[in-house]
Symmetry: C2
Subunit: 355 residues, 2 copies
Amino acid sequence: MPLMRARTRSPIRRRRAGSNAIALSDVARAAGVSTASVSRALNTPELVSENVRAAVQAAVTRLGYIRHSAARALASRRSMTIGAVVPTIAYSIFSAGVEAIERRLEEAGYALLIATSDYSLERELRQVRILLERGVDGVILVGRYHRPELARMLQERAIPYVCQGAYEAEGPHPCVGFDNHAAMASMAEYLLGLGHRRIAMLAGISADNDRVIDRIAGARAPLNRAGLDFVPGGLVESRYDVAEARLAMKRLLALRPRPTALLCVNDVLALGALFEARAEGVAVPAELSITGFDDFDFARNVEPPITTLRVPAPEMGRGAAEQLLQRLMGQSPPQATLLPTTIIARGTTGPAPAG
Amino acid sequence: MPLMRARTRSPIRRRRAGSNAIALSDVARAAGVSTASVSRALNTPELVSENVRAAVQAAVTRLGYIRHSAARALASRRSMTIGAVVPTIAYSIFSAGVEAIERRLEEAGYALLIATSDYSLERELRQVRILLERGVDGVILVGRYHRPELARMLQERAIPYVCQGAYEAEGPHPCVGFDNHAAMASMAEYLLGLGHRRIAMLAGISADNDRVIDRIAGARAPLNRAGLDFVPGGLVESRYDVAEARLAMKRLLALRPRPTALLCVNDVLALGALFEARAEGVAVPAELSITGFDDFDFARNVEPPITTLRVPAPEMGRGAAEQLLQRLMGQSPPQATLLPTTIIARGTTGPAPAG
DNA sequence: TTGTAGGCGTTATCAC
DNA sequence: GTGATAACGCCTACAA
């Protein structure tokens, strides 16, 4: 009996440093009930008598007890935490989405761990690994493209996930979003309808980015159907930054003959294009029509207000959270949810100039 | 020996549902070492032999082991998680700060739990309570004003915290930021120096918001020294939203005689003011000078570019994270860190019109 | 409805 | 440098 020996040798009970915080057992003692009852009173009050509930409640407030979620997570095998990986939160479309996710999760008692991928799928994968270490119960991603290991890791651990901001009816990933291809196609058709034939495109960096790729292809489709394409040299990529967009726009404005219309992949790019056009003395929309994408705050307030396409960012965030919560409760929501987008015609577009 | 009895009764070892994931003990078995050695190989590799390190490493990758941070948190009494409460992440100044915080924390192996207060101190307090339940090791807040219970809760649990975006040399809270009063005072002096005497102010909602209050007082100070004040009816509050700012600006433009200069509490408000002025045909800066605050992306790109005051948002975020990390490592960084701001004179300000 | 007690996956203490 | 093994604070199957 080596155990006895050990006990005999060091009769003083071993204690780890710094366990000073009030624990559930302290509440139990104060309330004169068992720890199980305290746990139940806190988590499933309907399973406990009125007396116990009141006593526990009183003890909790008196002692200022705060639950220890690491211990809960360990024992219950659920962390009540969701992870989200977004490209950046510095662009209002994403931050609006994240805020919506957070609000919905908060209602359900979940916390949100946010990580940024900086538009890199490799970094996205690393971030998901970190989120898994953190024991998230579910994951929210952006877009259709992901490293194959990512889904594998998630599926192996049976961690539900939802991709937001894109839509793919038959795709491998659950998603809630809109059809980027169709949306941009409708914008291109709108320009064609205005009589434009010389059309250019200011895109984001397409590497790793399905939304950009879909939007470029979406713009091209109706052009091709009309026997057209972007003007030669008329497809330029730029980071999502007004200053960079202006630089890219410089190149587009140097094309001869100049395009009469420009499709931008988002509103930041459109804003940069608009500023640069104005600085170069190019009249918008008289000489050049410009379209945005997203409908962020400033789109409607610049002069002229930007014609753009409203993207349902908060609805997507809320929808993604909702779908994840349903999965977490064992339900089977639809694999893909399609949200609508609308073209908002404002002041930066007009009929193609004559000639 | 009741234990023996129990064992005899149910000889099959009890197993909780779903403990399917690979645990550290699995790695230990695979590597042929003890769990203690695995733990050491992972956390303090310098304390184990090369052999053990290699064997553990191999087993980890072969099994696809991922650490269980709840268990780590429980055993080590540190969650390696920091909480941050910001008013909103939908405004680029805050999202830039949050991104900077996140980057620095990531380097140090900490995760960031983000919560929003929506500019309410009450909600901020609730969010901190939730963060404490989550077992955060430290907290980052915004501003000087907080509910007294907040600091008490944090101090009771010895959770370090830092307030960001404001500066108070002798204040009760550790902080890293700049002096809102002084910054806005310098802007007011700048306008006085341009000869303006009829000055108005477009402020944010001042309730619960020390930054707004400090900036209003800061603007007033040099005016008062010059025997002036805002023009009657010339102090208006608005939410941080371009549309709302335009509404507020309408009232300011209706004042007679009209102010010749307007101090805005941030760039969003300045942008709204600028748009509204233009819509009303008021020439900026010929008839009216407008100043912003923050220097967000669009400030330099609108036409005319906005005169504003650069706020070191990423530096504050990084600095706050840094200071917290130091506290977590048992160091004692300065209680208050002051960061510089600079006026950036651009196109929305000019000399006061004659007469 | 309530209590008992084992186990969740790690870390850290102790002994070697 | 390494191994054995008590905690860590809570949840929950089971028994009463």
